[in-house]
């Protein structure tokens, strides 16, 4: 592949750094985890009960960190709120603050109601007066758990789930929308972009839940159920299928249209992105998990091999989604508008937007999740009594 090097002056530098790779990865996990819980709360998939509340906590933990990559990226983070104070309605970015706040309210409400019984119980039974007051304040001074109330809560959760699905989609889809609408960049500018982002978000959310579910239930923190794993794996397979179709269509269209864009995109794919996109993202990230998941469709779920395959498939799928963010965000900046000049991106370790910051920001949600699960139990309250072995019920023993 030969090409001459000519970069425009404003194309010399890669501005959208690792932080902009991390940001859609995190929002994707938010949306994906929420979808998984909605499968139970809204679509009534009983198999997913063991993770339905935990998935909400995962969503919240990542939600609380979602803005951080952007703040690290901004040259003037102190001006971040200007986008809410004086939004420009012609800009998709202006919507972020509103979508974010709206979804945060919906998510918090849904978690609050899912844990209603625990909250009320803690308000009554907590040992110290401080804790009692805390839990009563969380319960907003109310303390009823009659069947009527449970019914009303269930309905409210259903409605919140219904509202939550489109808002989670918007929260993540608008990132894809922003990339898709950048008409100056052929690698981004396609209406398929929001859809590709969204489907990959669901893939990543389900994949993360599978890994965490297997890990946490093997330690007894979540109720183990092979049905639950099987259902998660099936939906991961389905999401990957649709994701592959969209992503495949996108490339196919570029190739078939063979417009001026294909000239630069093909060069990009065979040079700068050959390893990270073709070999790693597609070769490892798509082929491995999809093959495994397809085989698993025909396997019995109650064997160790199934679980092992599920974990491998989920981990590689999660990795795939990260690579996909990388290849879109960084890949799209690796060629100049001249279409004949290319550049490289070398993130630094200690940079404000560097590798260490990225690792810190990616670990922070897990720490928050740990804190959240210290406050609210991971398991279903009902299960602890119903199911075989109430290993360690949801009591907040450590508090």
């Amino acid at each position: 592949m030969t090409y001459s090097e000519y970069l425009f002056p404003n194309d010399m530098h890669i501005y959208w750094s690792l932080m902009i790779v991390t940001y859609p990865f995190i929002t994707g996990l938010i949306a994906g985890a929420f979808m998984a819980s909605a499968l139970f709360h809204v679509f009534g998939l009983q198999e997913l009960k063991p993770i339905s509340r935990f998935a909400l906590l995962v969503s919240l933990a990542f939600m609380l960190c979602a803005t951080l990559p952007l703040l690290f990226h901004l040259g003037h983070p102190e001006r971040a709120l200007n986008v809410v104070v004086t939004p420009h309605w012609h800009s998709a970015m202006a919507g972020f603050g509103f979508i974010y706040s709206f979804y945060l309210v919906v998510l918090t409400m849904e978690i609050w109601l899912s844990y209603w019984e625990e909250i009320v119980t803690y308000g009554r039974t907590s040992a110290s007066g401080m804790k009692k007051t805390f839990w009563r304040a969380i319960a907003l001074g109310a303390g009823e758990t009659s069947d009527d109330i449970k019914q009303a809560n269930k309905k409210a959760i259903y409605i919140l789930g219904l509202i939550g699905i489109p808002s989670a989609c918007t929260l993540h889809g608008y990132v894809g929308f922003i990339f898709g609408s950048l008409k100056s960049n052929p690698w981004w500018s396609t209406p398929l972009m929001p859809q590709v982002f969204l489907l990959s978000a669901i893939v990543s959310g389900l994949a993360l839940l599978i890994v965490m579910y297997v890990a946490l239930s093997s330690k007894g923190y979540l109720t183990w159920s092979t049905k639950c794993l099987k259902t998660l794996c099936f939906y991961l397979w389905l999401a990957m299928l649709f994701y592959m179709i969209s992503e495949g269509l996108e490339i196919l269209f570029f190739y078939y249209e063979s417009s001026d864009a294909w000239f630069v995109i093909s060069t990009l794919l065979f040079t700068k992105l050959w390893v990270s996109f073709v070999v790693v993202q597609i070769g490892i990230g798509v082929v491995v998990p999809f093959t495994l998941l397809s085989i698993m469709l025909f396997m019995k779920e109650d064997q160790g091999l199934y679980t092992t395959m599920a974990v491998i498939a989920a981990a590689t799928a999660l990795f795939e989604v990260w690579m996909m963010r990388w290849n879109i965000v960084i890949g799209g900046q690796q060629f100049s508008k001249s279409y004949v000049g290319f550049r490289s991106y070398h993130p630094e370790w200690l940079d404000q937007e560097g590798i260490l910051t990225t690792m810190g920001l990616s670990l922070l949600p897990f720490f928050l999740l740990y804190v959240l699960t210290r406050i609210l139990p991971m398991r279903e309250a009902a299960e602890a009594t119903e199911e075989e072995k109430p290993l360690q019920s949801g009591e907040p023993a450590e508090q």
Partner: protein, 172 residues
């Protein structure tokens, strides 16, 4: 079915947050925002009232007329004096009041010249650029019969910044 107490209270709190949030938001909008468009209108007059820091080569030429002429006739003709003489005024009393706040002392470092002359793929190819400046210095030293040069020799050791072109035909 009646709406339970806690749900009602939660909805009230959300409504309250919504109203309070919007009130704060509206209060935070700067006064002249939207006067001319999606920005703070007063910003324009504020910027207009600022004293210009740079004044252009002609101002310098009022006193340094020879220097101006020398520069204008050389390869650096189009470059304003202040592009190189940019350091903040250090309170040097000897320099006349004509430009108390502008800089005089130039940056003599290699970097000062290399900001423009370092090879850069984004520059027009015809622009004089150095891909490897230590080599440039090493090879040109002997041509000028200067043997005391090394990688750290200043560009101004050989080049007159105000008339940088060196015609080797004359020097030998």
């Amino acid at each position: 079915m009646r709406t339970p107490k806690h749900l009602k209270r939660a909805l009230w709190i959300i409504a309250l947050l919504f109203v309070a949030g919007n009130a704060v938001r509206l209060l935070a909008v700067p006064e002249s925002f939207g006067q001319f468009g999606e920005f703070r209108g007063a910003h324009l007059s504020e910027e207009r009232e600022r004293d210009p820091v740079h004044r252009g080569s002609e101002v310098c030429g009022e006193c340094h007329d020879e220097r101006l002429e020398e520069k204008n006739n050389g390869a650096h003709g189009p470059i304003p004096c202040e592009n190189c003489h940019f350091q903040p005024y250090a309170g040097d009393e000897t320099h006349p009041e004509a430009h108390p706040e502008i800089s005089q002392s130039p940056d003599r470092s290699q970097r000062a010249c290399l900001t423009c002359h370092q090879y850069f793929p984004a520059r027009p190819q015809a622009f004089p650029q150095l891909a490897n400046f230590p080599e440039h210095i090493a090879t040109n030293g002997p041509k000028l019969k200067k043997d005391d040069v090394g990688a750290h020799t200043l560009c101004v050791h050989c080049h007159n910044p105000h008339d940088p072109k060196i015609d080797l035909g004359q020097n030998g």
